[in-house]
Each structure stands twice: as structure tokens, then as C-alpha cells.
Amino acid sequence: MGRYVVRRLVQMVPVFIGSTLLIFLMVNVMGDPVAGLCGDRQCDAATAAQLKKEFGLDQPVWQQYLTYMGNLFTGDFGTAFNGQEVTELMSTAFPVTFRLTVVAILFEVLIGITLGVVTGLRRGRPVDTGVLLLTLVVISVPTFVTGLLLQLLLGVERDWIRPSVSPAAPFGELIVPGLVLASVSLAYVTRLTRTSIAENRRSDYVRTAIAKGLPRRRVVTRHLLRNSLIPVVTFIGADIGFLMGGAIVTERIFNIHGVGYQLYQGILRQNTQTVVGFVTVLVLVFLLCNLVVDLLYAVLDPRIRYA
């Protein structure tokens, strides 16, 4: 087990270097960021050259990358063009997005798995068909349409929620944005759980449990659910990384100042330091989530062991 974890951690190193290099190159493809700094006026050549020198943009890309990675290991994530330290932006953005992700994951776990279990046990009944249709609709409507609609209906017409989230972003204000963010994944979780439950229902151990005369509730929660959760946990684990990085649309609609917002601003202003810094952290989160998910398999399925 310990060896397995160490091995996985070692394997993360090349992936980490690869993804940061990839995003670094991608942002560099976007071209000269200095031109946008001077508004509708051309930067005078001397100032532009000076700025490029200061941000290290006058060096070849590989050298910029090496310098950047070197600084990274000393905890220096660089400075955005407007003089804000990237670490400072991170310290305000990540907690907000983290809370948003927690809300979204909670929705996935609570609603998604509950609906999945209900439909899995009552397959073919009206409730199953109804939920099936609902999930399909949710998957097929783009998030920004759902978000704008909910914002308008609940925030303006009904006055039930704040249409935008305040800078502190407490959990209470993140419920609707969290639901919007989770909606597509929620549909997937429901369907995954449903399949899994339906498949496992006729497995030997469930039959045995029922034959033993165990109460139905106990059969469902202790035996059926636990064994049906592996694909669901896999999905949710991979989803955490996506939710944190994919909140660009949701955060924009609800004006949440989290990771998605900073990334969006960073890209619009071609702020290499901000974008690469945030993505670096996201990649780390993604890799660790994958590891945790793999370790969780052993918890859920004792047949799995780690070499």
C-alpha cells in the first residue's frame, strides 16, 4: 500500500511537468500581452520593451518556462500585470471555488445517488422514466442557459436568491450556483448509480442477504449500495478537478470571484502568470483526486488490493 502510493506520487511528476508545460505553451501561443496594456493607444516602444524585460517576455519560451518552474519551487507564483501577486489571488479565489465545489459535490452525492438508488430499484416505473427524461434534458441544455434562466427566475422575478454572489461567498449564496455547476454531473451520477444498482441487485450476495432474512433497508444500504458505488466514486473523483476548473461559466454568470473568474480574466488579459499558476494548482488537485479515488476502491471493494 505504502509502496503503491509512493509509486503513484512519482508518476505524478512527469504528468505535472507535462501539463504545466502544455498550458505554458498554449498561453504563449496567444501572442503579445503587452499590446493590450496600453488601451486604445499604442505602447511607446521604450515602455513596451521595458515591460517585456520586466515580465521576462523577451526571453525564449523554454527559458521562461524554466525560470517559472524554478520560482514555483520557492513558492513564487509570479505577479499579474496589474501588480497583484498570483498567490494573493489564489488565496482569495481557491477558498471560494472550493466551497462552490463542495456544494456541487454534495448535490451530486445526495441528490444524484438518492435518485439513482430510487430509479435503480424501481426500474421501468413512472418515477424511473420521469427521472430519466429529466436527466437527459439537463444534459442536453448548455449550462449557461440553465444558469441565466435560474438567475432570472429565482433572483429577479421571485427574489428568492441573490442573482450574484457577494465577495465573501458564504455557503448559503452558493446553493443555486452549485446546483447549476453540478447539474450535468448530477445527471451522470444518477444514471451511473441506477445502472450499478440494477446490475448488482441480482448478484449472489444480495440474494444471499435477502435469503438470510435481513431487513430490506439493511440490504440496500449495507450490501447493495456499497458495492454499487465504485463507478460513482470514480466519476465523482474525476469530476472534482473538472468542477474546479470548469466553473468558468457558472462563476461568470453568478459573478463569483473564484478560480474560474481569475482564469477567465487571466486569459482575457493574456496574463501568463495567473493562468499557469492556477492551472498548476488545478492539475495537482486533479492528480491527487485520482489517487484518492484509486485508494478508495480498496475501501469499497475488499477484493481489490494494492501491490
Binding site: G36, A45, A46, N82, P167, R226, M244, E251, V285, V299
Partner: protein, 545 residues
């Protein structure tokens, strides 16, 4: 691992693992005060693009803050736009080249430091100095010695400009490198404000919480989300704030800001999105303002491209201008928050200031038949199609470019005569337009720095000027502008500038589209809301409650 048995624990583990990695050390600054306390109002804002140094701020959002926390020698009247003395007791000259400035007594910064002549001279020298990377440094380029502190090439050869001399505690002299009669009128621009010692001594600290001499003081600044400004009670000027303070809230999308205004979470939106204009009356009633601002939108052309710089090109450009139904677009898309342009300046200048209604004449009037004829006479559209380039990330550019193209297509009776060519980011758009990489007309918006005709013409059309991205060049125009700048009589100068503007018209150097108005909507708590000619709300005059 085997000991753990239930799935609830599993979900927890994921959450805990995440908390440890993603959230490490991120402290929550809880409790939002909101806009309820006292008479503080909240207003929409966008994160400034550059550090908030006065000579480094060149967009409206940063300028908004500077106009609240700073006062310069001159101040533009919110209504007339006229430059009036603020900190200047008097600015004297006899030759339009050597100026003597006397600063009023009794002004201090909000940290108690006195505002002296040195506060100005040091600030200007800082702004001009190449090593400080100030993006508005060119504002000081009229001052003698600028070429030494900010050479176009090579090393900086001096620390301070030779044209600036402190001659007393409250007096200093300015020597310009050439005659510039309206120089005093430019001094209301943000780049010319005085700076306290703290700016140099503790620069990082100052940036985190700027200190100035204006009616407001910065209380806190959370980068990327909001800035709280409170009324500075000891403000010595006459335009002291009439409210307790302003909270500037950052919005990514002005649609959200407008939605928030309707829901009562925001007091003031100073940029009503074009798509919402139709609802404004319904939503806000008379809590809405739509006043002219010193902004003009034009279509510029790439004169470095031979296709646009040949014999018949003038006719093609004039034809395109006549194919644009300005009235319809400003009415439908912009709900009259833009006014069809009939010259190349702005109505906020006033007739005395150089605005001349109808200078463009028939060339700015929609006439499909005439347009078609002109373009045919001019040899047709280069390549059979025009692509209007714009940046898609901000504002409502896509809306009007599509509308302009549809208008051209309808006039020419060809579905594909004109297409929009969006560029993802403003930075990329600027980089393409400043490096001469565009092959068709492109969006060229101009917001005035100070209310002078000169500011609408010289930076945009003078040979190799800073915003002459299309590289248009005309000797006659340059000569007229030079003469106008040297003219000491303002009325004569305006006359010369209008002659220069006629040259722009005869060549259709750029197609004027419309004058942009400033628009603002506000909540029921506010009254006395006004926008200045720069489309920035006059915060100090707003009353709350």
C-alpha cells in the same frame, strides 16, 4: 484501509483530501458588510488592468478610483467639461511655452502630508521616467527634457525632466519643448495629479491601499473583488462627498451587474448593457441617465495594405460609410444611447470647443443606392468582401458590428459583402492592430483624455501618432494640426483644427459611426446621480437615502 466500512466515510475522505490540497491556508474573511451601513453606496466596477498608479492608469475603471481619491491642478466641470482650477491658484504664461504654476494653500493628502509644488514635480518626473514603466508617460512628452528621461531607444539619460523646476513651496515652472497653448487644459487628466511621499517610500503599501488628496480615502482593497472608499472628512476642497462612501464591486459581466441592480443588491451601474436597454424604462423608470460622453466610435482602415490605399479607395470608404444605416442601428441596437456621428469629434466639446455638427455632410448619411454606386466607381470591395475586425471579449462590439455588416449587406444586396471578424481578447486585437496585421476595417473607439478637439484628431490621424493604428498619413493634415497647436487664440485654434478635420473627411480617413453616451441606472436609495463627460459617475455629488 479495510477497517473503514461505509460510503459516507468515503465521501468525507475525498472532501478532507481536497481541503488539505486546495484550500491550504486560505483564510476566510467572512461577514459581508453590504451597503446598508450609513450612507454608503455600491457601484459596479471592473478589476483595473494596470497597477493603480496615476500615470499608469489608462482605462475608465482605474480612472474611476483615481477621480475619487485624487484632485489635480485642474478639474473638468462635470457638466460642461470645461477645465477649471482645482489645486491651481494660477497658471501663467506669456509665450504658450513657459508656464508658472502656483498651487493653492491648505491642501493636504489624506494622511496629513501637505500638497506642495514638489508633490507635483516629483509625481510628474516619476510618471515620465522610463524605468517606472508608466503607460501614460507620453502625457509628459510636451515637457522639455522628456526625451532624456524617456528616450525612444536606449538607456535613460536623466532622472528628472529639465523643463520642471520647483521655485518655491507652492510654485513651480514648466518649460515645454514647443508651443502648446492648451497645455493648462490638459492638466485635469489623472496622470497629472500630485503624489504623497508614501508613494515612493512604501510603494507596495501604497498600491495595496492608495493614499491621495481627493474627497474619498481608500478604506480597504480586496484585489479582484471589491474596493471600499469612505468619505474623507477633512477634505479641504469644495466638492466634498455628499455620501458616506462608495463600495466598488467587481463584476465580470455587466449583465450580472444590471441583474443585481434590479434585485436590489447594487446601487449604481454605470454601464448598462446594450441588450438590457430596452427594459430600462420598465425596470428603472426615471432612475436612468443617458448623457453624451466624449467617446466616438469609428471604423479605421489599414492604409499599410495596398488594397485600401489605392486610387479608388476613397470612394470605396465613402461608399461603405453611406451603406451604414446609423439611425437604425443606434435606435434599435443601442436604444438611442448612441447618436449618429456627423463629424470626427464629440458633442461634449460644444460648438466653441470644436464640435461641428454635420461636418461629415452627405458622406455620413445612409443611402443604399449612392453607396452601391460609390463602391462600384471605386473599383469594388477589395477581395469582394470586407471583414470588420473587433475584440469579442468586452462591450457589445459583436452586436453593432453584426448590425453594421447587415446594413452594408442589405445596401449592396450581397449576403457576404461584409462579415464580422471577432478576435478573442482585447490584448490580441490591440497587438494585431498595432503591428499592422489587419487586412480590413477595424473598430477604433476613442475616449477623450481631455475635452479638446486636438485630442480627437492628433492622436488618431497625425502621421505615426500613438493611436493612428491604420497608419494614415497626410501632409496637409499634419501641417494644419501643427499650426493649430501653435495658435494662442483658442477660437483661431479651433478653426484650424476644423480645417484639419475637413481633410480627414475628404479622404474618409476613418468612418465615423456614432457618439457614445454614458449611461447609468441606479437604485431607489440614490439621488442626484450624474455622469461627467468621461462617462464616469460624479460620485461625490450622489446623495444616499
Amino acid at each position: 484501509m479495510r477497517g473503514a466500512t461505509n460510503a459516507g466515510w468515503a465521501a468525507c475522505a475525498v472532501a478532507v483530501a481536497l481541503a488539505a490540497t486546495a484550500c491550504g491556508g486560505g483564510g476566510d474573511s467572512g461577514g459581508e458588510g453590504g451597503s446598508g451601513g450609513g450612507a454608503v453606496l455600491s457601484s459596479s466596477w471592473t478589476d483595473p488592468q494596470n497597477p493603480l498608479e496615476p500615470a499608469n492608469t489608462n482605462e475608465v475603471q482605474g480612472g474611476k478610483v483615481l477621480s475619487m481619491i485624487f484632485r489635480g491642478l485642474k478639474q473638468y466641470d462635470p457638466k460642461t467639461g470645461e477645465a477649471e482650477d482645482m489645486l491651481a491658484e494660477k497658471i501663467e504664461t506669456s509665450d504658450s511655452r513657459n508656464y508658472t504654476v502656483t498651487v493653492k494653500d491648505g491642501w493636504t493628502f489624506s494622511n496629513g502630508e501637505k500638497v506642495t509644488a514638489k508633490s507635483f514635480v516629483d509625481a510628474w518626473n516619476y510618471g515620465a521616467s522610463l524605468k517606472n514603466n508608466q503607460k501614460n508617460a507620453y502625457f509628459f512628452s510636451y515637457i522639455e527634457g522628456y526625451d532624456k528621461v524617456h528616450p525612444a531607444k536606449g538607456e535613460q539619460r536623466a532622472e528628472t525632466m529639465s523643463g520642471l523646476k520647483v521655485t518655491g513651496e507652492r510654485t513651480f515652472t514648466v518649460r515645454l519643448s514647443q508651443k502648446f497653448s492648451s497645455f493648462p487644459d490638459t492638466l485635469g487628466y489623472n496622470a497629472f495629479v500630485p503624489l504623497p511621499r508614501a508613494f515612493y517610500d512604501d510603494h507596495d503599501g501604497w498600491l495595496a491601499k492608495p493614499v491621495g488628496n481627493g474627497p474619498y480615502a481608500v478604506e480597504s482593497y480586496t484585489k479582484g473583488s471589491e474596493m471600499r472608499l469612505t468619505k474623507w472628512d477633512a477634505y479641504p476642497g469644495e466638492d466634498a462627498a455628499r455620501n458616506g462612501g462608495v463600495t466598488l464591486k467587481v463584476y465580470t459581466d455587466n449583465n450580472t451587474a444590471y441583474t443585481d441592480l434590479m434585485a436590489g443588491n447594487l446601487d449604481l451601474v454605470d454601464d448598462v448593457p446594450a441588450q438590457q436597454l430596452k427594459n430600462v424604462e420598465n425596470d428603472l423608470g426615471d432612475r436612468y441617465l443617458n448623457t453624451p460622453a466624449g467617446i466616438i466610435q469609428t471604423l479605421a482602415f489599414p492604409y499599410y495594405d495596398k488594397d485600401w490605399n489605392k486610387a479608388g479607395s476613397v470612394k470605396v470608404r465613402k461608399g461603405l460609410s453611406r451603406a451604414i444605416n446609423r439611425e437604425q442601428i443606434t435606435d434599435t441596437i443601442f436604444q438611442k444611447t448612441r447618436t449618429p456621428a456627423t463629424d470626427w469629434t464629440s458633442p461634449v466639446l460644444g460648438a466653441d470647443g470644436g464640435y461641428k455638427e454635420g461636418l461629415c455632410g452627405e458622406w455620413c448619411r445612409y443611402d443604399a443606392a449612392a453607396a452601391k454606386k460609390l463602391i462600384e466607381e471605386g473599383g469594388g470591395l477589395p477581395g469582394g468582401q470586407v471583414k470588420i475586425t473587433y475584440n469579442a471579449d468586452t462591450g457589445s462590439h459583436k452586436l453593432w458590428v453584426d448590425a453594421v455588416c447587415n446594413s452594408i449587406n442589405n445596401a449592396l444586396d450581397n449576403d457576404r459583402a461584409c462579415v464580422g471578424n471577432p478576435i478573442g481578447t482585447f490584448a490580441d486585437f490591440r497587438s494585431k492592430s498595432t503591428t499592422q496585421k489587419l487586412s480590413g476595417p477595424f473598430r477604433a473607439g476613442w475616449q477623450m483624455d481631455y475635452p479638446l478637439t486636438q485630442n480627437f484628431l492628433q492622436p488618431l490621424y497625425y502621421t505615426d501618432a500613438s493611436s493612428n493604428d491604420g497608419k494614415w498619413s497626410n501632409e496637409e493634415f499634419d501641417k494644419l494640426v501643427d499650426e493649430a497647436n501653435a495658435e494662442t487664440d483658442p477660437a483661431r485654434a479651433v478653426e484650424m483644427f476644423q480645417k484639419a478635420e475637413a481633410v480627414v473627411r475628404d479622404n474618409m480617413a476613418a468612418i465615423p459611426l456614432w457618439y457614445q453616451n454614458g449611461s447609468a441606472g441606479w437604485s431607489e436609495r440614490l439621488s442626484n446621480v450624474a455622469l461627467n463627460p468621461f462617462s464616469v459617475p460624479v460620485y461625490d455629488q450622489i446623495k444616499v437615502g
